[in-house]
């Protein structure tokens, strides 16, 4: 009898605990367009950081786009509707990804094109261009000025590369760092570069993260500091940073940070924005998305970087004269005058 009880007990407890499905909430995998629409709309509603700055009425957006859905809708059409809904936020950190497409607002297309690297190579750093890690650089012909092209923040910067570059230009009158059409990448590279241009710990911006379901629920202001690098530095000389509408995300954070650094001047066009760090997620149909969940603020706690950081001096490329880069010319004059 005891033996029978033992085995019954084992079998019962075993069967109760060995099936995980009854333990958790049901899997809500679904291709239903209405379920996926509502899920995405809710996620944005609960977490997006810039409804107020961008003056987007997210409830109205729901009404407009929900009315476009119907049962049996093709996946491509559903993707277009959901992607267009996200694009109402005018934010390239807010995207929808499926196996067959990625939605994107393409903010850089809303501004002028101000960059043609061929002009720099051919007429400004001819015969002395170096490629060191992620940087391309050279002396500007006829001037004692260094030009550094930094095209993407995606790859992590090697400090030895920065040492080499700053050693090469240590006797110049100034340097130009070109961030035009740099669409961003790894945030960590910002202090790696800017730490070379300051000799004191500098508060450069604040960030806040969405913290609740209310559209204005945010956590505390988190300070962002640039600390001086202990490696080779470039101090007490002018540094010009070139920006345009293609300078996005980490480039916008970089530009915002330079506003707090006296020796750095921004030249070009307003950046594209991307001042919100994105949060990624997945829909019930398996597609993935991301959306901006943080706000970035300048030292006066003004929230504008998401719409772009203004240059200190506006300058434009003249596409009818591609033997000159007027933005670089303007920067050369600024350095010479200082």
């Amino acid at each position: 009898m005891r033996k029978r009880v033992f085995y019954i007990l084992i079998i019962q407890l075993f069967s109760l605990t060995s099936c995980h499905k009854w333990l958790f909430e049901k899997d809500i995998a679904s291709k239903d367009p209405f379920i996926n629409f509502n899920y995405l709309w809710d996620e944005v509603d609960k977490k997006y950081a810039y409804f107020e700055l961008k003056q987007v009425n997210w409830d109205s957006v729901k009404t407009v786009y929900h009315s476009k859905l119907y049962a049996g809708i093709e996946e491509d059409t559903l993707f277009t509707i959901l992607g267009d809904m996200l694009n109402e936020l005018r934010d390239d950190h807010t995207n929808l990804l499926s196996p067959f497409n990625t939605s994107r607002y393409n903010i850089f297309l809303k501004g002028d094109d101000n960059f043609e690297y061929r002009v720099i190579q051919k007429y400004y750093i001819k015969n002395n261009e170096y490629a060191t890690g992620v940087f391309k650089h050279g002396f500007i012909n006829g001037f004692n000025i260094g030009y550094i092209r930094y095209g993407s923040f995606v790859e992590s910067i090697n400090n030895n590369d920065l040492d080499f570059i700053l050693e090469r230009y240590k006797n110049t009158k100034g340097i130009i760092i070109d961030l035009r059409e740099n669409s961003g990448g790894n945030f960590v590279n910002i202090p790696k570069i800017l730490g070379r241009f300051t000799d004191k710990k500098t508060l450069v911006m604040y960030n806040r993260t969405r913290s609740g379901t209310g559209r204005n629920d945010f956590g505390p202001y988190e300070p962002f500091y640039i600390s001086p690098s202990k490696r080779i530095q470039y101090l007490n000389k002018p540094v010009i940073v070139l920006i345009d509408r293609g300078s996005y995300s980490a480039s916008t954070f970089f530009a915002l940070a330079t506003k707090a650094m006296d020796n750095i001047t921004l030249v070009g066009d307003k950046t594209g924005g991307g001042g919100g760090l994105p949060n990624g997620g997945q829909l019930p149909n398996g597609w993935t998305y991301r959306l901006s969940i943080t706000q970035s603020y300048d030292l006066n706690k003004i929230n504008y970087a998401e719409n772009g950081v203004e240059p200190d001096f506006y300058a434009k490329l003249n596409w009818f004269n591609l033997t000159q880069d007027q933005i670089v010319d303007f920067s050369i004059n600024l350095i010479i005058k200082k």
């Binding site: 958790f24 997620g281 597609w287």
Partner: protein, 261 residues
């Protein structure tokens, strides 16, 4: 919250002290456990990911008639996928787990062949997950720690002189702690001074459940070492403050216990 931690710490210290204070027959266990696991982090996805895991286990056992102690550490690696709607997303899972338990014989429910033991234990699991499809949230990190009520019912199934034992193990969480990310987060770091801090705003919560059970067959070898085969099931739900993390694993453990006392 602080007083709770103080109480837990004192209990754990007392428990460990009582455990290691006197000698009794002991074993070192080394094992490997292939498994099948499922998880869902609702902070980033409503979908379950399913995959194969491989665990490496090292443990210390001390067993005698009146009580039984176990301290173990295991490392698990797994690759999980979700292919719903042809999306083919995958997530790597790395998991480090510490276990400690102490069981006492219940004489009333035991005999020469049957043994029922009951006691308490601590389970602590650190998960590190990587799912590149989630972009800025590709990294998921959480800790699940539980004080569990432990039961072991075993039967000596030896015939003649060879020692064989069949046992059922069952642990249920009575204090369930989890350390999960905040409301909205990403793993792009913020930089302050010379250190990098992930913007995840983790919170400690006391909620959810944990169930841990198994059936183990042990055979005493002629050199007093033990060969053991176990089926193990582990499941937990960690609701955190915002979105739950669900996890379940079935595994088959093959292990050798080396007698050293």
């Amino acid at each position: 919250m602080r007083s709770l931690f103080r109480t837990i710490t004192i209990c754990v210290a007392f428990f460990l002290g009582a455990t290691f204070s006197y000698a009794q027959p002991a074993y070192i266990e080394i094992g490997v456990a292939p498994g099948l696991s499922f998880f869902r982090d609702k902070a980033t996805s409503p979908l379950f990911y399913r995959g194969n895991t491989l665990s490496f286990i090292g443990a210390w056992h001390s067993t005698k008639n009146s009580n039984e102690k176990l301290a173990s550490i295991s490392f698990t690696w797994g690759k999980h996928t979700n292919n719903y709607n042809n999306t083919h997303n995958s997530a790597k899972l790395y998991n480090l787990e510490f276990t400690f338990s102490k069981l006492y014989l219940l004489n009333k429910f035991s005999s020469e062949k049957w043994k029922t033991k009951i006691g308490a234990g601590i389970l602590s699991t650190l998960n590190i997950r990587e799912n590149k499809a989630l972009m800025n949230n590709s990294l998921g990190v959480e800790n699940i720690s539980n004080i569990v009520l432990s039961t072991k019912i075993s039967k000596d199934i030896s015939r003649l002189s060879s020692g064989k034992e069949l046992a059922f193990l069952f642990n249920v969480g009575i204090v369930n702690l989890n350390y999960r990310p905040g409301y909205a987060y990403n793993y792009l770091p913020s930089i302050e001074d010379c250190y990098i801090r992930s913007m995840t705003n983790h919170h400690l919560s006391i909620n959810g459940f944990r169930l841990n059970s198994g059936v183990q067959y042990s055979k005493m070898l002629s050199n007093r070492n033990i060969l053991r085969i176990s089926y193990l099931f582990d499941a937990y739900n960690a609701p955190g403050k915002h979105e739950p993390f669900n996890y379940a694993k079935h595994s088959l453990k093959f292990s050798l216990l080396f007698n050293y006392k």
